[in-house]
Symmetry: C2
């Protein structure tokens, strides 16, 4: 990359106000960024790569992409109940397009500022477009929310906007693919959910010391729940009618709803297992974060995952859905396999 291009990228991503802010003792521009740590805390680290054509289309608004590249990583910190502190950004770019870079930087920095997270370093190189973000956050020692703590009898919760649900990101994707239809307003709303996911950082912090286990929904409800079940050595039931859905989702054909709600990814909501005795506290804390939290099932002893029509059917243990009503790929998880 020519020196002028470096200068442009540097001007966009190295911000004077970031040089020594928050935990940053030495900012980008040295061989390493140096972060201050405090006694009694642990550092939570997560990283994700987004590749053009696989995780996003070349036509996506760069500002939305900058937002999403950071959001999907912050969502991992949220799922651990960690306070975001710093991040690094590795950009591989096929060309230097100032307008594209400015848009990307705007989306990235806006979300970083919202969460008080500092861009502490990174790398820019030429090549096929891909974006790797690594985030670092802090938790009091031993307080991280893990996938492995779910216990039989726990309530199973999923977060969502107070006026929305899960699965809308998948619904938007299906519209792009020509396999689903939405009115203009519904499409715009679903597209926002796909392109501008909101990491549930405040909720993750609020559930520390309360939830037994948490994960963020990136692969889809059943796939991510399977990770929790495998890590915790338990099973679960889901109650179909309890799954939160937007009004556009509620208007979709049954099969489309099943695919989007049970199988759809890219929601970045939190899936949480918490003791039933704390039910009201859990709801109150989500409300304090301005979020809906729906009780969608429960953790049971044993292994595997069953879907029932509603809570009553689940408690009776009768009428578990046959596999042909479940989205393709779901069978795998019914077996209680530990494959990711």
């Amino acid at each position: 990359m020519a020196l002028g291009e470096f200068a442009l990228i540097e001007s966009l991503f190295r911000r004077p106000q970031d040089a020594r802010r928050g935990r940053v003792a030495v900012g980008g521009g040295d061989d390493c960024a140096v972060l201050t740590v405090q006694a009694g805390e642990q550092w939570a680290v997560s990283t994700d790569t987004l590749v053009e054509g696989r995780h996003f289309l070349s036509t996506v608004d760069p500002e939305a992409l900058g937002h999403k590249a950071l959001a999907v990583n912050l969502s991992d910190l949220a799922a651990c109940g960690a306070q975001p502190q710093a991040c690094t950004l590795n950009l591989t770019l096929p060309r230097t397009d100032p307008a594209w870079l400015q848009g990307f930087a705007r989306g990235f920095h806006a979300l970083a500022d919202e969460h008080g997270i500092v861009l502490a370093g990174g790398d820019t190189t030429g090549g096929p477009l891909s974006i790797t973000v690594t985030v670092m956050g802090t938790v009091p020692a031993g307080a991280a929310l893990l996938r492995s703590g779910a216990k039989a009898g726990d309530d199973l919760w999923v977060s969502h906007p107070t006026d929305g649900g899960i699965g809308d990101a998948r619904l938007a994707l299906e519209v792009f693919r020509g396999r689903a239809r939405l009115c203009q307003a519904g499409f715009e709303a679903a597209r926002q959910r796909m392109e501008r996911p909101q990491p549930r950082v405040a909720l993750g912090l609020a559930l520390r010391g309360l939830a037994h286990a948490a994960i963020d929904l990136s692969d889809g409800l059943t796939g991510d729940l399977a990770h929790v079940l495998a890590a915790s050595g338990v099973g679960a039931q889901l109650w179909w009618s309890a799954l939160p859905r937007s009004r556009w989702m509620a208007e979709q054909p049954a099969e489309g709803q099943r695919e989007a709600l049970l199988g759809g990814g890219d929601d970045y909501e939190l899936l949480v297992a918490a003791p039933a005795a704390e039910r009201q506290t859990v709801v109150d804390r989500a409300a304090a974060c301005g979020l809906g939290l729906s009780r969608i099932g429960r953790i049971v002893a044993g292994a595997g995952l069953k879907v029932f029509e509603d809570e009553a059917a689940g408690h009776a243990g009768t009428g578990a859905w046959p596999s042909e009503r479940l989205p393709r790929g779901f069978d795998h998880f019914l077996s209680g396999s530990t494959d990711p």
Copy 2:
């Protein structure tokens, strides 16, 4: 990526012995890795992306590539005087080639084990081949070696193998490009320097509290020195005859030597500014690490970089090389510009 491919990658990169080793309280497999921190320390973080066709050829030995992807990052920790602790690995792969992945993992893990560093998480996705590694290390608070501490009067040092020098990685590249010739033994030695750089971690640790500034040579001697000069607000002189060179380098034509020694990148040796009063201590500490350390110049007041034939000429301040004797691209740095 299909589930079988995930399982293969997981089996190669998630090692049971890494799950809770060193600073890892929670290893890969949860939303975040969780790292233990201790009072009074800071965390140093660095990240680099290697892209096929730009940083390595598609034909490179995957084991060497696994080594190098981690080595170039450990070199940044070395330059900060940080103790390596943990890393993350993001692999973007065009296909799942078990033999290639096994080789890559072997090279990566061997170097990780040598430095006691734990692979704490990562991401694998499909797409054009690229590799991002992020490393995390620890330093006592305030003890990190930075680029910004060089002072007028400091000695300028560069590390190297006791029987070698700098610039050999560039020399190997020039042979690949058909622009230089080496005997078979010389080519193999130079190629090792290019493909298997050895991060100078022990030397970085040994120079903590002693050196005023350090940087690792990734872009080339003059380019990296320019970063130190800009960050420290000083100038420097280099002494041509003092630059350490392998016997194969010494046999190269003068112009080739100048390009490789002054401009060549990918050395991953440490360039160090240290007080002249500590000269013997500096040498002793490098020797204790089994490394050569050559005094190649000195830091001066003002800005910019001058090359002299030898130390005597430098001290006399006469006979600075004219720009036409310097490698192309060098002029830029003579101006004392702060552009990277």
